[in-house]
Each structure stands twice: as C-alpha cells, then as structure tokens.
Symmetry: C2
Subunit: 346 residues, 2 copies
C-alpha cells in the first residue's frame, strides 16, 4: 500500500474536510496518509472525528501556508515550510509515494516542479482529467497546466497520457485524439496540424487523428489531447452546460404540478445522473511528467472528493512507480519524431 502525503491546509474547507477524507481513505482503502500542516489543528480535527489514534495516519507539522492571492512561484521559493511544499519534500526523500493537495493549483504546480522537477526528456508536465462518456470515461490532457504550448508539448501530452491511461486506467491500447474544430486533417491550427503530423508517424500508439468537442462523450476516444487553455475552457463549458441543463429542468418542473410528481418518481434517475457527472466521484487530477506522483484535487472538494483523490494517488503511485524510464523514452521518441518532421512547423 502506498503512503500518500496530503496537504491538510489546502482547499476551501481545509483542514476539516481534508482530515475527514484522509480518515475515510485510511479506513476504506487501507492506505497510509501523512497529513501535512498545522499539527494542533490537524490533531483537533482527528479528535473531532474520533480518529485520534487512527492506524495509518501520521501528522507532519508544517508552519506555513501559501495563500490564494500570493504569487505561486515566489511563495513556494520563500516559504520553505509551507504544507503544499513539504508534501513534495516527503516524496523526494522517499518518505511518501505520492503528494496530494486541494490548494492553490498554481502553487501546487510550482512546488511540484521546484521540489521534484521533471522526469528526463519531459518538456512540460501536464494535468489529466476525466470526463464521463456513455460507457466509461475519457481522459482530457492538458487540463490547465500549460497555456501557451508548442507542437512538441502537445505530442508529449499524448505520450504521457498514453502511459497514464494504459498503466493506471488499465486500457491496453488507448485510442488517442487531438482536439480540433473538425475531423478533416485540413482543420485545426498550425499547432494541432503539426502535432497530428508527428503523432501519425508514431507506430507504437493507437492514434485516431482529430477529435471534436462532441466526440468527448461518444466513447470513441480514451484520451483527447489539447493545450491547457482549451482544456480548461472545455471542462468549464461542460460543467456549465450540465448546470444549465439542470436549471432549465428545475424551472420547468416548478411550473407544473404534474411535472413535480413526475420529478419525484424520477428522483433516483436524477441522482444517478448527478453522480455520473460529479467531479467528486472521479477524485483528483494527476500531474504527469514530474519525478514523483502528484495529484491535484478541486478547491471545492468535500470529504468524499478528498478520499477519491487519495484513491487516485494510491492507484497512480502503484501503477506509475516504475514508469519513469518508459516516460523518458516516450518523450525522447517524441523529440526525435519532431526533429525528423518534414514540416518543421514548430
């Protein structure tokens, strides 16, 4: 079982829900958790939860916190004892197998890069997020770490994501697409066309060309690759559309007595759909390409989301623990294919 270093001070409802999620994870999943942060407050929460002597939980005091308004890079450099930085020290020293935080995602990225650094060959670590499809789920990468990217970065996202989806999700040969505004190869931007040209020449992967926004949910792809700007916009658009759909339904239901009865009969259905679309079910989002396992959780995470993010950290640490060399080879391969590109659009 993996040992997960958890930033107890990170997230909108820290440390309460973080400690609660960590205790749940210990009890239900049997993982070991190191809670990093203000020891007095963390111990107080453990007592409140009747988990003062919970097996598998240890507390590591950290005296500082990075606030939301601080410049991530500067704060991480200055605050050597910030909880969001100490979790990475524990991974680096071998005391933990993975680091997880629901805190400021900019600070999380900065700390991961500053303390752990990138694996050899990796230009830009990137975030994987999962969206529900009709039959399962699809990985979207990059979900927000890298806003202005080059073709080589996009190609590496595809190969980093391929390793993650194959080893952690367990899909032997992930079907990969590059997000675009149309299926034809003449579509896309200079960036996507260049990435597609390179990926098409990579014989070791199941590359399917362009994926459109609507293809995210069809189940035709296991991994869709894009830059972090578009990835973020896509995630928030999907979240917003699902929210608007529910609001439209709710308003129309309130206008009709018959519909109110119908909605009552349908409550389990609505609950099921909500659960299917709920980010909390999916746990945290891994940052792939660092020298260590890193999981970002949503700032709004409740205890269940924290527990599921620790589950993700546990699964990723187990499946990726010995993948460093494979990732380096994949990224060097990408650079070699890029260098031999006839287009050289990069």
């Amino acid at each position: 079982m993996a040992r997960i270093a958890v930033d107890a001070m990170g997230g909108d409802h820290a440390p309460g829900v973080v400690v609660e999620g960590a205790v749940q994870a210990c009890r239900e999943l049997g993982v070991d958790v190191i809670l990093v942060g203000d020891e007095t407050r963390i111990r107080g929460e453990l007592v409140r939860l009747g988990a003062a002597d919970q097996k598998g939980i240890t507390v590591r005091h950290a005296s500082q916190v990075v606030e939301m308004h601080e410049h991530p890079g500067q704060a991480i450099r200055k605050k050597r004892d910030a909880s969001i930085r100490v979790i990475f020290d524990l991974v680096k020293s071998g005391e933990a197998d993975a680091a997880m935080s629901a805190g400021n995602s900019g600070a999380m990225l900065a700390a991961a890069l500053f303390v752990l650094g990138r694996l050899p060959g990796v230009e830009r670590p990137a975030i994987v997020t999962f969206l529900p499809t009709l039959e399962g789920r699809v990985a979207l990468m990059d979900a927000g770490a890298n806003v202005d990217v080059k073709p080589l970065h996009l190609v590496q996202f595809a190969l980093l994501g391929e390793v993650y989806v194959r080893r952690v999700v367990g899909i032997p040969r992930p079907r990969i697409g590059v997000l675009s505004n149309g299926e034809e190869l003449s579509k896309g931007t200079a960036l996507t066309r260049s990435a597609v040209e390179i990926l098409s020449r990579h014989e070791g992967i199941d590359f399917r060309g362009y994926a459109e926004g609507k293809d995210l949910f069809s189940g035709d792809f296991d991994l869709v690759v894009t830059d972090g700007f578009t990835g973020n916009v896509v995630l928030k658009t999907a979240e917003g559309t699902a929210w608007a759909f529910r609001q439209f339904l709710k308003r129309n239901i309130e206008d009709s007595a018959l519909a109110k009865i119908g909605a009552l009969f349908m409550k389990p259905v609505f609950d099921g759909v909500r659960k299917k679309l709920d980010y909390a079910e999916y746990g945290g989002a891994p940052l792939v390409g660092c020298a260590g396992t890193v999981i970002l959780a949503h700032g709004r995470s409740g205890a269940r989301a924290i527990k599921n993010a620790i589950r993700t950290a546990n699964e990723a640490a187990g499946a990726l623990g010995d993948a460093s060399e494979e990732i380096t080879l994949a990224c060097e391969r990408a650079a070699a294919l890029m260098a031999s590109s006839p287009a050289e659009e990069a």
Copy 2:
C-alpha cells in the same frame, strides 16, 4: 421587408427542406425569398408543397453546386454559376438584401469574401452564434471562421459583435467578455491578455474582462469573444454535454418502471428543455464584417431551422443595413488602440 437570397442546393436535405423552410418563411414572416439553384428541382419541390405560385418566392436558376469534398476557395473561383456563389452576386447587385446557405461553410465563407469582400477596416469577418442562458441568450464570436488569430482580430470580433448584439438583438449596452481559463487578468494566453489590454482602454463599450467556460450560461455576459478554433470546440462541447446528459437520463429511465411513469408526467418539461437547447430555434449564424448581410445555417437544418435562419437574415438585414460606416469606424478604432498599446504583443 427584406429580400433574402437562399441557396436552395445547400445542406444535407437540400433542396427539399430548404424550399419548405423558404415557403414557411414567406407565409409566416412575409419576407421575399429568391431560391437559387436547379430550377427544375426547385419548381418540383414548390409544386409538391402546393406553393407553385407562392407570393414572395422567386426562383433564380444556377447550374452548378459546390460539393462537400471540394476545396472551397478553388471551387468558388472556378464555379461561377454555383448556387452558393450566385446568392452573393444577388446581394452585390442589390437584387437581394441578405444571403443565406446551409451548404459547405468553408465555401460559404470563401464566396462571401470573394464576391462581397470585407467592409473597410475589417481584418477578418467572424461568425456569431447564440447559446441559451438562464434568462436569455449569449452571443459567442468567433464561432469558427478564423482559426489562427492575432490580438487585433480578437479586439475586432468584440467590436463587430457589439454592433451586432446592440443593433440586431437590441441590447443597448452589451456586456462583453473575452473567453479565458480563469477570471484573473494574469490568466489566459499571450493572445487573450493582449486583447484584454486593448479592450480595457476602449471607453465606448461595457467590457467586463475575462469570461470562463461556465460563465457562458450564467447570464452575466451578452457577448463572449474567442478565436474560431476555441469557439467551435466550445459549441461542440456544449452540444455533446447536453446530448450526453439526455442519454444518461434516458438509460436510467429505462431501468425503472416508476421513472418511466415519472418521465411521462415530465414530457412537456423535457420538450421545453430540448427546445431551449435546440439550435434550430435560433436560426442561422451571421457572418459579420462583410460588405453585405450573410447568414450560415447548420448543414443538418430541417425546414424549421431554415425558416428561422431566414428570419435571422431578415432581422440582420434590417438592423445592419446602414451599419457599414459604424462597423468601419469601430474597426479603425481597434487598430488605433492597438497601435498605441504599450505592450505591442501583437
């Protein structure tokens, strides 16, 4: 009443549904429609619809059609008598006030630029599309015409869109945002940051800074501006999410007898939400910035969508007919602000 030149041969179900939608538009909206395409087939459809002598409908024979697989630019140059090109000839000669087609959108853009050209000062005409919000609708621009854009283009999209939303939708002071991956001005790409810097210095508009994907549906913005790549991805993601939501509901309903009864009671509610989200309700998408009114309709348009696209063409022709000078001034203003930018990131 405006005279609308309609490409009778454009769209997946042409000419049947196009002629049907045009006849409906004549009867219900009182507009004049010039149906452009294969005269024999068009007259056949009119007879089938009992509209052989429909007042307000005229037929203009065009002997050629641009096929989906053809290169848009080349096809438009070569095929001088293609229906999708002749509709613009009619606008240029003053025989029609607006052109509408549900055909190949690449050919539509190429023909609009080739025959009508841009208004003075406009760098890149762009497509406006509307999404439903809780209280009304929001314009998204560019919805797909320009994939690789510069800051000046994004700034001009905001100003072109502002004119459209103010004059055609009738919102006196549209609230404008630039689509981004976060609200803080430090977010976004080099492109969006540069555009935001320019728009912030424009005192004549209600510019609200960045809008996120989830803000599209909140009702906080009347116009959200982005490049055509991201715009297309956003539209298709929203479409895909709504589709997935309906599929999840449907599957869960089928698994429960009680839920089936509930769904029956809720049928009017579901129909209302479907109608709210249905692109066909919104009619076509205007291409703004050309020397003439241009409306693109969805390739999958049925008769109702065609009718609504003709309605949009009629409204746009009426409200934008004398806006050419205003658009030119707005775009020249954008270029002047750009030139005086301290950043000069363009």
